[in-house]
Subunit: 239 residues, 2 copies
DNA sequence: CGTCGGGTTGAGTCCATTCAACTTCGGTGG
DNA sequence: CCACCGAAGTTGAATGGACTCAACCCGACG
């Protein structure tokens, strides 16, 4: 069940058998969530952290007027609330965008990892740093990219991240979000989101139907998005 | 010189004398940067990480069309590129917005901290997690807040962060940015940035002149911003 | 005294929003 | 079986927000 987590960590650095065993011992029990359920509730103080092993989830915040903003996608292998281990209080919620299977890691055991396994600690730390790098890229996209470019960038990001955990099918991947949910990703109205998607479709660079996105021309899509995967830190080197 | 760093860490948890001494041994040499200079260059692979001890800096990315987007402010005591210790390659630059004094921590010595001092490691990790929490708040502000509310939120964030490191003067603080630079924070044109600032001034909640912002009514400003400081994780507890 | 960077204002255009209508499609019950 | 329903997607039209272009003000500085 932990394959996607291993695949992600291996993207950054080698992982010893001992470290693998340690993770397998710490991350236990499974639970399933239906679409729309919160994997983690905003404002809670969890005593364990959650790894998504199957499905798509997202971080989000809700404002007083009911407006919702997603701040990140979470794919299989993501340690979605590892930060709660140290931040203690969740400042946002995490919702299942497709049926999700997750596993849990007790915070006490995570602390033991930081005491006994410095290299593994650095890899987990790195995981949260990549989250931060993705956030920065989202800020840039929201502030200074055109809407079409922003959408193209999100598609590039998801494709690469899903590819790492073997959840792509050639140039396609499953993408369960409705256009209304996408609007809450990009900070747009539903109507305008629909028009932006229509515009990107018309370029012929992607197709998007039946909850599946296909990339028809990666090079030109990446050019539209100005996509540079450096921020995902996918070089295998000693950390 | 490291007082602001200590002040920030103490905001989250206790810091032993040994840990203090360890930091003082690891973080050495000083350097001054003039306004507009890069403290850290995008694309570089630094062998040390940088602590701002005086001045205001910001993370930023530049797009092909020349558009610039700031993604975070860095105040005294911020370990601005601690993440480069594990990410290796800087995916963005860090620029001095006022004259800055910084100090450096060799990556080899930071690694030693992760091997020998698990509690201090967790505190440094936490520091990067708070960065991530701030990023999420910026994404929400860019996507779903009104422009006035976004600006108010930025002012609240900066006031609280500067207060922690004793860089406020009553309800005022120094803020060296031009309106053009602020436009690159909020993702607006210069002209519209000017109008948003004018609108917030007209509410009477703040004044902003001579590179100094004064908060005239914190409660109402925080209400406009829907500012909830939870995300800054400023509770002192075992981590 | 002239210049330059920053701030401010007006006007016209374009982008994004709202409101509203209508379509498509899968599911459900009569 | 199909009539109905609701959720999601699509389209048009009008309003309001944000952009560009342009002009002008002002204080610092040579």
């Amino acid at each position: 069940m932990l394959e996607p987590l291993y695949l992600q960590l291996l993207q950054h650095d080698a992982l010893s058998d001992i470290e693998r065993a340690m993770l397998a011992e710490v991350i236990v029990t499974g639970k399933d969530f239906a679409v729309g359920q919160d994997l983690v509730v905003a404002g809670s103080r969890p005593l364990y952290s959650t790894v998504v092993v199957e499905g798509l989830a997202a971080r989000y915040k809700v404002l007083e007027d009911g407006g919702r903003q997603f701040t990140a996608f979470q794919v299989p292998g993501d340690f979605v609330d590892l930060h709660a281990f140290l931040l203690k209080t969740m400042d946002h919620g995490i919702i299942a965008l497709s049926p999700c299977r997750v596993m849990f890691a007790d915070h006490g055991k995570l602390r033991t990892i930081t005491e006994k396994a410095p290299h593994l600690t650095r890899l987990l730390w790195l995981d949260t740093l990549v989250d931060g790098a993705i956030h920065r890229e989202w800020i840039v996209a929201m502030g200074r990219r055109s809407k079409t470019s922003h959408l193209a960038h999100l598609i590039c990001e998801l494709y690469i991240r899903l590819q790492v955990v073997k959840h792509t099918d050639g140039t396609s991947f499953r993408f369960p979000l409705s256009q209304a949910e996408m609007a809450d990703v990009m900070g747009l109205s539903i109507v305008h989101m629909n028009r932006v998607i229509g515009a990107l479709r018309k370029t012929g660079l992607i197709s998007w139907a039946n909850h599946t996105i296909s990339i028809l021309d990666w090079d030109r899509l990446a050019a539209v998005a100005e996509f540079d995967p450096t921020y995902l830190s996918m070089t295998n080197e000693p950390r």
